[in-house]
Amino acid sequence: MDEREQAVRSKMQSYTAPKSVTGDLPTEDGEDESGFKRPGRITDREDDYRRRRLQRMLSPSRNDAFAMGDKTPDSSVRTYADVMRDQQLARERDNTMQNIADKLRKEEEERELDARPTKASGVQLPPPPAQLPPPAAKSAASGEKRRNRWDQSNGNADTKKARVLEWDAPEATPAVARWDATPARPDEFGATPGRAASRWDATPTPGRTGTEATPRRNRWDDATPTPGRVDPGATPGWAPGETPAVGATPAGKRGRSRWDETPVGVGMGGGATPMMGQTPMMGMTPAMTPMGGMDMPTPSPSSLPKVPLTAEQYQTMRMEREIEERNRFLSDEELDSMLPTEGYKVLEPPAGYAPIRTPARKLMGTPTPIGGTPLYHVPEEEHGQTFDVPTQLEGLPELKPEDHQYFGKLLKEVEDEQLTVEEMKERKIMKLLLKVKNGTPPQRKSALRQLTDKAREFGAGPLFNQILPLLMSPTLEDQERHLLVKVIDRILYKLDELVRPFVHKILVVIEPLLIDEDYYARVEGREIIANLSKAAGLATMIAAMRPDIDNIDEYVRNTTARAFSVVASALGIPALLPFLKAVCQSKKSWQARHTGIKIVQQIAILMGCAVLPHLKSMVDIIKHGLTDDNQKVKTITALTVSALAEAASPYGIESFDDVLEPLWKGIRLLRGKVLAAFLKAIGCIIPLMDAMYASYYTKEVMVVLVREFQTPDEEMKKIVLKVVQQCVATEGVEPTYVRAEILPEFFRSFWVRRMALDRRNYRALVETTVELANKVGCADILGRIVEDLKDESEPYRRMVMETIDKVVRDLGTADVDARLEELLIDGILYAFQEQVSDDANVMLNGFGTVVNSLKMRAKPYLPQICGTIKWRLNNKSAKIRQQAADLIARIAVVMKACDEEKLLGHLGVVLYEYLGEEYPEVLGSILGALKSIVNVIGMTKMTPPIKDLLPRLTPILKNRHEKVQENCIDLVGRIADRGAEFVPAREWMRICFELLEMLKAHKKGIRRATVNTFGYIAKAIGPQDVLVTLLNNLKVQERQNRVCTTVAIAIVAETCSPFTVLPALMNEYKVPELNVQNGVLKALSFLFEYIGEMGKDYIYAVSPLLEDALMDRDLVHRQTASSVVQHMALGVAGLGCEDALTHLLNYVWPNIFETSPHVVNAVMGAVDGCRLAIGPAIILNYLLQGLFHPARKVREVYWRLYNSLYIGAQDALVACYPRLENDGINPYARQELEIFI
């Protein structure tokens, strides 16, 4: 290695990522501020997929078939048939749109091809549109069939109106479908299938009408708000699929159709709940499109009479205004006032200059800002509408701004007499919900109880119509959702079968909880759905969820599958099996089959080994999915098989017989994602097989696996690794086979640098390699990867090191030969020296594990290792010094085992020289290393000698860094314990004073070590001096310090026998100072606790002191003295000290009437202790005086004591109960005890 190379290398060590990169690393800000997570809105932490919950609609309540009996459901109620029809319709619509899109794309392509005639040579043109029968014909046909009243174009709405009314006349039975009743007639839809013709595309949800500027006139725009509809809640957002032409027939059409009932009806009370997904929808007149309506300036809030904006809108607008205000152009006057008049000249703007103002801003900008400065914004007075002032209603919690849309009604003052019963009920529920949502805990509790108790009185409808929209609110916080879900849970129990019409609505709200990222939310969701299914029954649950099974939206199907699995776990798998069987074989749509199979998968995941009894039937239900035409169905089936196998492991292989063959065929034929799923299934099944089959099948599948080793697909990689791990772990797979067939390819494909970069790949690869090592032995694996320890990529080296660490820890290094051993140490040294990253633990652990496992064989390498360590202890970088010191701590034991004491001593001296280290982290590690050296070579052989080392440690005790403190006190304690004689007593006293400061440490471990050290020192130099120090410390103010001091005194007494300590301690009690006396008592309490039965010699000595303390006016005196009595009694039980204890008990007894909880506790303890030491009979005799005392206060205390006596000594009391006399009616006497032979 020449000089230049060396220079480069030394520089390499300090190369790190640029600051800009490291600075960007995500830190968990906010959380470490207080240790608590701040309450956040649920929507803020959700991803896009989860946010799709907001797009779901709370459908109208459904018919309860059970409640109807034989009657035909009345037409205004939605039945199962209606829902299924809607679903069918939606699917067809989706298909059609798909086809139209396909067709358009084809046409586009064609046009492109036509445009480039040169390319057309030899390329066959796609068939012209006329020859594309399926999409075109179908769209026409379905268009015709589905022609219905919402599809009519707006132009001739008036002419159509008459007919519309005709069809919408109340129908006799809902079975006559409105949709189908449409007479076939030539229509615009069929004729112009382009996108523009469909309203679905332009305005898929009403909420989006606002954001997409629709050029067409929307019929909502025409609507003149009728008086009944000005109320914000009254314009519910219907999804387009069900939007009736409300605007066209404004008011008074109440009986028109079932759809129209709700929108015209009362605010939130109707059977239909508005969709909450889009905030702007609420509280907006139909004519208004505020956010996206670019062609008109947004009116200022005040100019919109009686139309409350939602809180968000209001905030956004205000913010916007404020930004505008602050960034507005400075006027000439302002510039004049800011700039000095002299030395500046006003220039003319260039001739062609025109100021650019962003047009959007201009449009959005408020014409005139309300009030001048936004900071002191005073809104114009509004009637019944306040924005910023927190609204406080009497007896109700504060309303948040976003609550106004739900609880706004409460703000209106109304006379009770004017309200109908329904309205009263609604207000009542609203108030209770507000209390639950925003109230204080007591308010919440009582409101929750009222809601529960009156649930049936309120009725399911009014309750759910208010709770469910709240839960859909986009501003909901975790805590609020938890509370509202709790409300639902409680009322479910009460409402029982009354919930049936609302099952689907509840599911829409609760299902998203099942895929929440928060574990507890998921559990909560499961609980609710389980309770719901118990309340509503299986039939209702199936009826409610069946339509969602083949919903076109994947989100809906996913959540429904999860909900179904919860139903299965609540009502039992067998109940659901027939239904699942039917669904999984559905011919109508692949979605249904997919969801059905997914339900089985979710059941397996949710219920684990509980699927075993039904395993066979569940596999039978899904097995045909492996040969399904649809790829997605195939994939989910394979995943389900693997979930089932995983749940059943290690049993149930016989149930999987039927799927083995299709799986086998599958892995040969398939590619891509489906193949990955199939491999996963096989990987999960193989561990269930017995050895012979497992070996056979492993060999079969390995061909495919080895081929897939090279896949670039990340998901596939993970699955392949997992399958290899599972296969290799089975019993029947021979090491020779693994060595020959798997290892070469495996290492070639997976042990590459790229794998170390992704955390999950890294984990999987390390685990799989360890599993392989378990099969083929340590040396094979080490031999293959040991060279990579010298790789140039650090993450890769770390991955190698972690694998070596784990393999060696599991298997040892017995089969590692000399050559490999050499390579290993060489590589590890290289990797250790080259590391620059922060996380040094992997390298340290690996190094430690390998050296410790080599034991004696490590001897030849120790000089080299120590050389490296010494060199690195001298390094400029603190981190490297710290790592070197940490490494010493890990290999000290092995060095001793290799008889390298000289080397150890040498290292000790080196470390001693570095005790002046200024970085506390490094100093802590150096102290730790010294400690481990002292531990292995002992006090006498230690270099530097202890008498030099300890004085050097004394000043370090002053260091306030936790790591330094901990290591230092451990080292000092160790020396005090084993080698105190090497140090003069004076030095120990000096240390004692330092130790007192350490009693203040925050970490308990440090305080405990300190207290123990006091004991060692007292033992070494005699207790007198130490005791004096400690007793003086009792006078300090700080409580924790005093407590620790008393513990130290007790420990000194324990280590040096109590008689050396007690006289001084009791003498100290004479000091007329509360803290000191209590300290003495506390020390006595610990002392008697520690010395146990040794205490019998000292009872009589301390009795007078305790008498005094138990009669003291100070409560704490009596409390602490009582606990002394307790510990004393427990220590000497059965040693013949009854007389002294009875005497003390007489002093304790009057304190039983104290009320302070700590005193009560201590006195109860003392009495209990005495029960043990002087027997229950005596205590019972004390108690008999008060058990039936006329004063209840007395009786209560006495019975409490009696109960603890009774629980402690029930059997023994039989002999000492008082004699009871017969009273003439009842025989009370216990005659058996009078028997005498």
């Binding site: 009320t1155 909880p1157 700590h1158 009560v1160 506790n1161 109860m1164 058990l1187 039936f1188 209840r1192 009786r1195 209560e1196 019975w1199 409490r1200 009696y1202 109960n1203 603890s1204 009774y1206 629980i1207 029930q1210 059997d1211 009391l1213 039989v1214 109960y1217 009871l1220 009616i1225 009842n1226 025989p1227 009370y1228 216990r1230 058996e1232 005890l1233 028997i1235 005498f1236 032979i1237």
Partner: protein, 89 residues
């Protein structure tokens, strides 16, 4: 009974804990109820200590099994029918 302060202190659970054991008492326990507890405990104790049982059997000139059986029977209503509630008040 318990004051507000009592409800939240460390001893609040003690009584609840004690009340879980049959045979514990409280301030409103009547003479009869206490006596029943004493009797039942006594019988249980006799049955549990074989030497005592054989002592009773010897004195009554009955078999040990018979004595045990009759004691188990007596545990049902050891002090006869409970007195009317009014008596307590």
């Amino acid at each position: 009974m318990a004051t507000l302060q009592d409800r939240f202190n460390i001893n609040s659970q003690l009584e609840h804990l004690q009340a879980k054991y049959i045979g514990t008492g409280h301030a409103d326990l009547s003479r009869f109820e206490w006596a029943v507890n004493i009797h039942r405990d006594s019988y249980a104790s006799y049955i549990g200590h074989h030497p005592i049982l054989s002592y009773f059997a010897l004195a009554e000139n009955e078999s040990i099994g018979r004595v045990k059986y009759s004691m188990t029977q007596k545990m049902l209503l050891p002090c006869g029918v409970p007195p009317e509630k009014e008596e307590e008040i």
